[in-house]
């Protein structure tokens, strides 16, 4: 929430394809994004916009036929030299995962193994990464972590099916944090939960972040949630980032017509009742991406240039603010220089 600190994860010109050769579709295009230490970066977009693919890509968890076709992901460990995650060998990667970067998956409630106790699964994580710890120390660590996420110690020996959805989600978050990683990627962590539970878990996450000082890449389609919970937001459409700004700036003064349309797609709970329209048309098909700006067939302000040239992400002319970027050809939004 304070000024921007040093980067912890730098994604540069990242590209992901599905399939090879002429059958391939381009799911993520030229994404450049920086996650700073201690911030919550929101990544919003519709289904098929490439937001989950990006998350799996940067951790090299992408299942075939996904192929990372270019780009680098520079990780900055505290007090050490930065390195490229894409260049790690398998054994280095194994150490990097979970200890440095962990993921809370979309259906996190279902990513626990149903035949093992919560404690077994939790201890397993610690054992794999810190084999030098004694059994008591491991247990103490697991206890402490579960307490942090609000699960009492007597639930340690429960099986996943004995816990409610929200508790399972908390266990997953606890497991992601148990090795004190620098980066936590959350892929729609609360989509399957009720609003009441969602708010509790997110409030807890914000509290934990202040205590443990990790960075979060928060992926969701619910922009109204992101505006409230993240420091910065990047909006993806058709595999590219179309706008990036601080949450408050994006909410009050969005520059890309897509962000604007997305913000107008959420009926308000307070204030005057307004007639809303959403965005006409439907999200693009990756197999047949529109030429130029991928959003132009749905854009109310589209003009000739939009259908021929792909807009580049840059600091918009009209707002001379280094903290925001937009990819749009509209007057005043064209990048400086």
């Amino acid at each position: 929430m304070t000024g921007l600190k040093s980067p912890v994860l730098e994604i540069k010109d990242f590209n992901v394809d599905y399939g090879l050769g002429d059958q391939s579709v381009q799911a993520v295009r030229d994404v450049t994004l920086t996650l700073h230490r201690g911030e919550v970066l929101g990544l919003a977009g519709e289904s098929g916009s490439g937001k989950s693919t990006l998350a799996y890509g940067i951790t090299r968890l992408l299942p075939p036929p996904g192929v990372i076709s270019g780009g680098s992901v520079i990780y900055h460990p505290p007090g050490e030299d930065p390195y490229d995650v894409m260049a790690l060998s398998n054994s280095e990667l194994r150490k990097f995962r979970w200890a440095e970067t962990s993921i809370v998956f979309q259906g996190a409630m279902n990513s626990l193994n149903p035949v093992h106790k919560v404690s077994t699964q939790m201890l397993d994580v610690i054992k794999a990464h810190e084999p030098q710890l004694s059994a008591e120390a491991r247990l103490a660590r697991a206890h402490e972590m579960l307490k942090l996420v609000g699960i009492s110690a007597d639930r340690m020996d429960a099986y996943p099916h004995q816990l409610s959805g929200g508790m399972r989600q908390r266990v997953m978050i606890g497991m992601a944090l148990v090795l004190e990683p620098q980066v936590v990627i959350m892929d729609e962590p609360t989509t399957a939960l009720d609003v009441v539970m969602q708010r509790q878990i997110l409030a807890q996450l914000v509290e934990l972040r202040e205590r443990l000082d990790f960075s979060v890449l928060f992926i969701t389609h619910d922009l109204s949630l992101l505006v409230e919970f993240s420091d910065r937001i990047a909006i993806m459409y058709g595999g590219r980032i179309v706008e990036e700004a601080k949450s408050a700036d994006l909410y009050k003064d969005s520059l890309h017509p897509y962000s604007e349309g997305l913000l107008k797609s959420f009926p308000a709970l307070r204030g005057p009742r307004k007639e809303l329209a959403g965005i006409p048309g439907s999200p693009p098909d990756l197999r047949g991406m529109p030429s130029g700006c991928a959003f132009h067939p749905r854009c109310p302000h589209a003009f000739d240039r939009c259908s021929t040239e792909i807009p580049v992400l840059g600091i918009p002319e009209a707002r001379n603010d280094p903290n925001r970027q937009v990819a749009c050809w509209l007057p005043g939004r064209v990048p400086v220089g």
């Binding site: 929200g166 009720d194 609003v195 708010r199 409030a203 914000v206 409230e228 959420f266 204030g271 959403g278």
Partner: protein, 355 residues
């Protein structure tokens, strides 16, 4: 804002009513309980009273597991009810299938949550719609008439030009278009009531409003009664004339949408509204005191052995001794703005209610 506000309220005749509607699902008995006498049941819906009027949208809001989808299925007569009455135009109706069921669903149609699952992937749009028209006897005598009816249906759901969509398979359509096809299929019966079970929650955010606006438009043009089931109270405020809040199988609050969302009375409704994401609350980011009104950590109760008295009392910060023993009836609340009624099933309002 809607046409209904300009018309006198008397034109909204009651189409479908439920009174004391109850559904208990029996729990499978394990070996250990085979010899005991008690038979356990999931109390999915208990003593529900609901009225659907022509030209009105009634929203049913609740968490997952609160029984709201069961209500839709009971009203569509897809489940037999444990007890209670469902009245169509004032007549109690119970159907179990066959001709009577078809006659019933000619008037009461359902739209399902997932348009990816509710359309048959091996058949075209034309097949789906023709079947609906034929079953309900509206296909016309000649093939030209049928063709015309099909075109009308697609035009109604704003899939234009109709020729482009008629021979498509579901996988060739986007989620929003698929949901429009399933709405067209429901309209094929020329129903009076639409039961929409989370019609937009599987769709992309940017196209949800398009579908809701379409439903509202249909409501006004065809004078439909719509039951809109959702977990998103903000969309209920946007779309529905009347909102009912359901918690653990019981209705806890109801009334005009604007009143319910702006002056929520029941502690559960307040909790629900407090918890909804609100971008205007930027200054309060991460404040742990953000989610008040909840003592039990957001857990809905087990419906096999629901709490006695008010089902919300274990989580309620205003709970009194009376709450855990006696079931609160509906208390009428003063309506501050507009017509309509506003009620809450909560003992807090016992004294304020009209004697």
């Amino acid at each position: 804002m809607t046409a209904t506000e300009t018309e006198p309220a008397t034109t909204h005749e009651v189409v479908l009513e439920a009174e004391g509607l109850t559904k208990h699902f029996p729990v499978r008995r394990g070996l250990r309980s085979l010899f005991t006498r008690e038979r356990k049941a999931v109390h999915a819906v208990d003593d529900l009273r609901l009225t659907l009027r022509r030209g009105r949208v009634t929203a049913l809001v609740g968490e997952s597991g609160s029984g709201k989808s069961t209500v839709a299925r009971l009203l569509a007569q897809l489940y037999p009810r444990t007890s209670g009455d469902i009245r169509l135009h004032g007549e109690t109706i119970t159907v179990h299938g066959g001709r009577k069921f078809r006659a019933y669903c000619r008037q009461v149609q359902m739209i399902f949550q997932d348009p990816f699952a509710s359309l048959n992937p091996v058949h075209t749009v034309r097949y789906h719609l023709t079947r609906a028209l034929k079953i309900h006897g509206r296909a016309g005598k000649t093939s030209a008439e049928l063709e015309d009816n099909l075109r009308q249906l697609l035009l109604r759901v704003q899939l234009t030009p109709p020729e482009r969509y008629l021979d498509k398979f579901p996988h060739e359509l986007s989620g929003g278009q698929r949901q429009r096809v399933s709405i067209a299929r429901a309209l094929g019966a020329d129903p009076e009531v639409l039961l929409a079970d989370e019609p937009v929650s599987m769709l992309d955010v940017s196209i949800r409003l398009g579908v809701l606006n379409l439903l509202r438009d249909l409501k006004e043009r065809l004078n439909l009664a719509i039951l809109y089931i959702t977990h998103d109270i903000a969309s209920a405020r946007y779309f529905a004339d009347e909102t009912m809040v359901m918690y653990a199988g019981r209705l806890v609050e109801g009334g005009d949408s604007e009143t319910v969302t702006q002056q929520p009375a029941h502690p559960y409704t307040r909790l629900l509204i407090e918890s909804a994401p609100d971008p205007d609350r930027l200054d309060r980011v991460g404040d742990p005191k953000d989610a008040p009104e909840d003592e039990a950590g957001g857990e809905p109760p087990s419906l096999i052995a629901p709490p006695t008295g008010c089902r919300f009392h274990p989580r309620c910060i205003h709970a009194m001794p009376k709450c855990s023993t006696e079931l609160p009836p509906r208390f009428e609340l003063p309506v501050i703005s507009g017509e309509g009624e506003h009620w809450a099933a909560c003992w807090l309002y016992e004294e304020g209610a009209a004697k």
